[in-house]
Amino acid sequence: MKKIAIICVTAFVMCFGFILCNSKSYAYIKSDSSSSEVRNTTNIETRKENGVSDTLKEEKNIPKIVGIAILCGIVLSSIICAILVSKHKPVKVARTANNYLDKNKVSITRREDFFIRSTIDKQAR
């Protein structure tokens, strides 16, 4: 259960990081702009206004990507290191008696599932 939770948290943080890093920003850049302004961009569409065409470009914010990646890296490596350190302290008080349960004498005497209520949420897309 613990391992599943840790894998889920790790996957969530990485996905969150990818999503944030890939959140895009857009800007219209004049067609006569210098090459430095069109670096790290992708053409989306072109519009013409007063004979001058502007191109909608997709921008990647590199500092933002690096910042988010560093944050995600710190969180993930902290989780992984905490798990590895915990393996060095295996001595624990026992909370259960699983080893002493007679599995042939487990008797479930009552199994009842009652339907209580239903809710429906509706949201516009």
Partner: protein, 346 residues
């Protein structure tokens, strides 16, 4: 009150119980003995060296039956060894009456195997300093018979859980989320056999719990002669003091079994749980074997323990801060690089 131990019939030297052969061996002439060799036709012990003991300021004082040295021990020690000549002294009166154990599991693992287990205790411990698992760090290795109470009990559990199923779909311009809520009841009876709790204040519960389980098929009728060559303690916590610990463990397991019986839902939440434990019969007083080890590293003592029957070794080990910092930094750089690389490519 007196102390005693068996001596060799051939050379009169003291005998020690050997875990490998399960016999008593004379360390000087190598003669082996079984339990039958210690008892005459009337069932009385023969060929034992004895010495009187007296009480001084709450402690027991006696003279070693072999070398005559003065040894002091507390009121709960039932077998000890002379610090001068290393011979065992068994205080037989401390195994009598209410303090007589019903059964015992004898040592199956030797002291050498305990030291070897310590030196091999590195699996999964990447932050442990390399020089920790060094024989020279071991201060003391002692074989101890530890008093335990074993409880048989039946637990009746009642579990009340709120469960939920969720369904999502899209229709037209709308998103729908339907949640069905259920009240789930489970009741059951579970039987537990021989839940152990250590009955000595000297030994910490977490270490004793961590070396479980013992194989109870090897429990044999108690005889104080098995204590030869080992230390032993009588109980100083009686069975009534320890019932709540055993009950707590059994109730938790019952709760877990009832909870795991509930299936087919997206989520479950426990509303209430009631567990009633009924002890069956009288708790059994037994002696179980444990190798205790004190390891000194950088002025700190680490207590390690090995199950004297199964060989399960356990103990907390030190963590090197430099290794942790190095791993953390390396992982941070690696994961950051991966996230940046994938983000730029996508």
């Amino acid at each position: 009150m007196g102390v005693s131990d068996h001596k060799c019939l051939a050379c009169n030297a003291m005998l020690k119980f050997d875990p490998k052969s399960q016999k008593w061996i004379c360390e000087y002439c190598g003669t082996e003995y079984t339990l039958k060799d210690f008892e005459n036709d009337e069932g009385n012990k023969i060929n034992t060296k004895t010495s009187k003991a007296s009480k001084v300021n709450g402690y027991m004082q006696y003279h070693c039956p072999d070398c005559g040295a003065e040894i002091v021990m507390d009121e709960n020690t039932a077998a000890t060894e002379c610090v001068y000549c290393g011979n065992t002294a068994i205080i037989t009166e401390r195994f009598e009456g209410e303090f007589e154990p019903k059964r015992v599991i004898t040592f199956k693992k030797t002291k050498e195997e305990a030291i070897e287990a310590f030196c091999d205790y590195k699996k999964g411990k990447i932050f442990m300093p390399k020089d920790f698992l060094n024989k020279d760090n071991i201060e003391k290795v002692t074989g101890v018979y530890i008093p335990f109470f074993l409880y048989d009990m039946i637990v009746d559990g009642k579990l009340d859980v709120e469960a939920m199923n969720e369904k999502r779909w899209t229709q037209g311009d709308y998103r729908y989320v339907k949640k069905d809520f259920f009240k789930v009841l489970r009741e059951g009876t579970m039987t537990f056999e021989k839940i152990p709790t250590d009955a000595s204040k000297k030994f910490s519960d977490d270490i004793m719990d961590s070396i479980e389980p013992f194989n109870y098929d090897e429990l044999t009728k108690f005889n104080s002669s098995y204590m030869s060559g080992f230390l032993a303690e009588k109980y100083d916590l009686n069975s009534n003091d320890l019932i709540s610990r055993a009950e707590g463990r059994a109730k938790q397991t019952t709760r877990d079994v009832l909870y795991s019986d509930i299936g087919g839902y997206n989520s479950k939440k426990i509303v209430s749980y009631i567990g009633n434990a009924n002890i069956q019969g009288t708790p059994e007083y037994v002696m179980l074997p444990v190798w205790m080890m004190n390891v000194k590293y950088e002025d700190k003592i680490y207590t390690m323990a090995m199950n004297g029957q199964t060989g399960k070794f356990i103990g907390n080990v030190p963590v090197s801060k430099a290794k942790v910092a190095g791993m953390w930094l390396g992982l941070t750089i690696l994961l950051t690089t991966i996230i940046i690389f994938v983000s730029l490519i996508v």
